[in-house]
């Protein structure tokens, strides 16, 4: 007896159906860890002083990164192995909508510490880990093999790789978790003079973000600074906010939340769906390889056919 071509094609089609059905197969449970820590960055309070960048370099013992200009300044144009956080500035150009009231704005780039981190899902050797309590996404160089798949996976282009070193590492913001043990907070929030970068439990930060969105424009209000739990406040005149907390729902949410008076797309932040890409990828993978049942069944069938057809 021999298998007809038709049978083979049927088999292939079945495999395809299983593959495709995998997309909606399971709902993964990815929720905010109980003691999740994060940062609320309010671009309307940021003055672009870049103290956070300097503070970050001191706390993480990083070299200056004069990329992109005359080496006079520590001015990275992007996140790099020497810069875990970067302040960027949007400036309205001549071709853009003149009616737009906000002409300029800052944005702080750093690891978003996703609720469902793509890098953690992607890493083959578990070098990227999400702390079960604080939710901080950490990197373990002892595990890392340097495949850079985390970089492909990260929707915010955060992890960077030391291409210039013979024994390289992945470098990313780890929310100053080395300072947490000492009772300190993330250096960028510690040094922020205006409270634009605010550290604290994500639940509190979310409440605070919602409070700010509800504030009427132009009113003098108190804004918590440095660490939301300490009660230290700074007074500012409220700006007109975009009624959107970036990071509340994006790809399952992030522990770094962003507020701005400019549309986030202008600040280089993509419009992202609520379902994470990691979830889509894992669903396919788990559907196909759950308990290795499907591959084993396929192997059994193959063994049967090969044994029979072998001469």
């Amino acid at each position: 007896m021999s298998l007809s071509r038709r049978d083979v094609l049927k088999g292939a089609a079945c495999t395809g159906l299983v593959l495709a059905s995998g997309v909606n197969a399971q709902a993964r449970d990815k929720t905010l860890p109980p003691a999740a820590l994060g940062i609320l960055y309010d671009a309307t309070l940021c003055i672009g002083c870049q103290a956070c960048m300097s503070g970050c370099k001191r706390a993480n013992k990083l070299e200056p990164d004069p990329s992109g200009n005359e080496s006079l300044w520590d001015n990275p144009t992007e996140l790099s192995t020497k810069s875990l956080t970067v302040i960027k500035q949007y400036r309205q150009n001549e071709t853009e909508d003149k009616a737009q009231t906000v002409k300029s704005g800052f944005i702080k780039r750093q690891c978003m510490h996703c609720v469902d981190p793509a890098c953690v899902s992607a890493c083959p050797v578990s070098a990227m880990q999400k702390d079960p309590a604080t939710g901080i996404v950490t990197y373990n160089k002892k595990a890392c093999i340097g495949c850079r798949y985390c970089q492909i996976a990260c929707p915010y282009n955060v992890p960077t790789f030391e291409f210039d070193k013979p024994f390289p590492q992945i470098v990313k913001c780890q929310l100053c978790d080395h300072l947490l043990a000492k009772g300190d907070i993330a250096a960028c929030c510690q040094v922020c003079p205006t409270g634009a970068s605010l550290y604290g439990p994500v639940e509190l930060l979310k409440e605070e973000a919602k409070r700010r969105l509800a504030l009427p424009e132009g009113q003098v209000a108190l804004f918590p600074a440095n660490d939301i739990r300490t009660g230290r406040t700074v007074s500012h005149t409220t700006a007109e906010y975009q009624q959107h907390i970036y990071g509340e729902k994006e790809l399952g949410g992030t522990q770094v939340l962003l507020l701005s008076s400019l549309p986030f797309a202008k600040l280089g932040l993509q419009d992202l769906p609520e379902e994470s890409y990691a979830g889509v990828s894992e669903n396919i993978q788990h559907t196909l390889y759950k308990g290795m049942i499907l591959p084993m069944a396929l192997l059994a069938g193959l063994l049967y056919f090969v044994k029979r057809n072998e001469r």
Binding site: S71, L72, N75, P76, V86, I87, K88, Q89
Partner: protein, 365 residues
């Protein structure tokens, strides 16, 4: 006699002015103003510490600059607070008489006097290029140095050779620390140094009977702990990228940063922007007058790096203007890479075509 009268009589100033001076000195040294009474006591002590002041290869600019301050006048301080037993420029006497006074003072105050050396010490050819009283200066330094309680090298020449040590250094000019290797020689570099820095060092020694904290080049940290660049009044212009491009251009007239004119502020440790010079008010220091710092307090910079050569920024900090949201990276396409790609694709396509042709022709045979 009451203390007040002593001060009034000896220094010719009111007690109030004197205490103000003591507080100011304390602050200059990085001490709390509450040290002022202690300083006052040290200065007014009955036994004034003897000072021997030697001159080597120098221009006397350091002495000159010490004569400038007027709050109180330094001549008062030098003549009344300390016992300046020997100073070639200020000596009333001369020749053998002066020499004798010096040797007598050294003998009487061995281990107690402060030795101040101004000027470089030439060592080439047995040190014949600088002799006082028929004796090579290097021998004098070696002889007197070990007998002093403290040795202070004032000025860049005494600190590391200064302009004399610039290439080709025909006389083998050397700094005092290199001659007196066995002991700590405090250096107060500068061309000229700030009088306040010297004065503060001496008073610190008188008050606490020890030397102030020093950096790796034996400069007092209170004066040389930070880069000029860090405290410069024109720093905001640097951060914003506003530079003078040439002397007298628009940027120069607007008081922009002098970095591009060769300012050595980013590599020079000194307190010039804070302390200023000569008590004549704001702007009284080189950068304040529109001239780039030439790095006189930094060995290897002043008299070594050409005046208009740009300094290297060792610890860059963020500029005032953050980068834009998206920075287009430079194209990586190189002619060689494109050639290689083209050649590889060409060879592959060509080989496939040839093989295909061959296969066809064989098939037709």
């Amino acid at each position: 006699m009451r203390e007040r009268d002593i001060i009034t009589q000896r220094l010719g100033i009111s007690r109030r002015d004197f205490m103000k001076f003591c507080s100011a000195t304390a602050v200059a040294m990085g001490l709390d103003a509450s040290f002022a009474p202690q300083i006052a006591q040290a200065i007014t002590a009955a036994r004034r510490p003897p000072v021997i002041w030697l001159h080597g290869q120098e221009c006397t600019g350091c002495t000159e600059t010490l004569l400038r301050p007027s709050h109180p006048t330094l001549d008062h301080l030098i003549l009344d607070l300390i016992s300046l037993d020997y100073h070639e420029t200020l000596c009333a006497g001369g020749g053998h008489q002066a020499e004798q006074v010096m040797h007598q003072s050294i003998k009487e105050n061995e281990g107690k006097f402060i030795l101040v050396i101004e000027g470089a010490v030439p060592v080439k050819d047995g040190g014949v290029y600088c002799q006082v009283g028929g004796k090579p200066f290097v021998d004098t330094v070696r002889e007197i140095g070990p007998k002093a309680a403290a040795v202070i090298a004032i000025g860049s020449c005494a600190s590391w050779g200064g302009i004399q040590a610039a290439a080709p250094n025909p006389t083998g000019a050397t700094g005092v620390p290199a001659i007196l290797k066995e002991q700590t020689v405090v250096t107060i570099p500068g061309c000229p140094p700030n009088a306040q820095n010297f004065l503060s060092t001496v008073i610190y020694f008188l008050t606490f009977n020890k030397l102030p904290a020093l950096d790796s080049k034996n400069r007092p940290l209170f004066a040389y702990g930070r880069l000029i660049h860090e405290n410069c009044e024109r720093r905001p212009h640097f951060d914003a990228g506003r530079f003078a491009g040439a002397f007298g251009d628009a940027g120069h007239r607007l008081g922009y940063c002098l970095f591009k004119l060769g300012c050595k502020g980013p590599v020079t440790h000194a307190n010039c922007p804070i302390q200023l010079f000569c008590e004549v008010g704001s702007g009284a220091w080189p950068v304040g007058t529109g001239h780039p710092c030439f790095g006189c307090t930094e060995e290897g910079v002043g008299f070594n790096t050409p005046l208009f050569t740009q300094a290297k920024i060792t610890i860059p900090t963020p500029a005032a203007t953050p980068p834009p949201i998206t920075t287009e990276q430079e194209s990586q396409v190189t002619p060689l890479a494109t050639t290689l790609t083209g050649a590889a694709v060409g060879v592959a396509v060509g080989a496939a075509m040839m093989a295909g042709k061959k296969a066809t022709s064989e098939d037709e045979e």
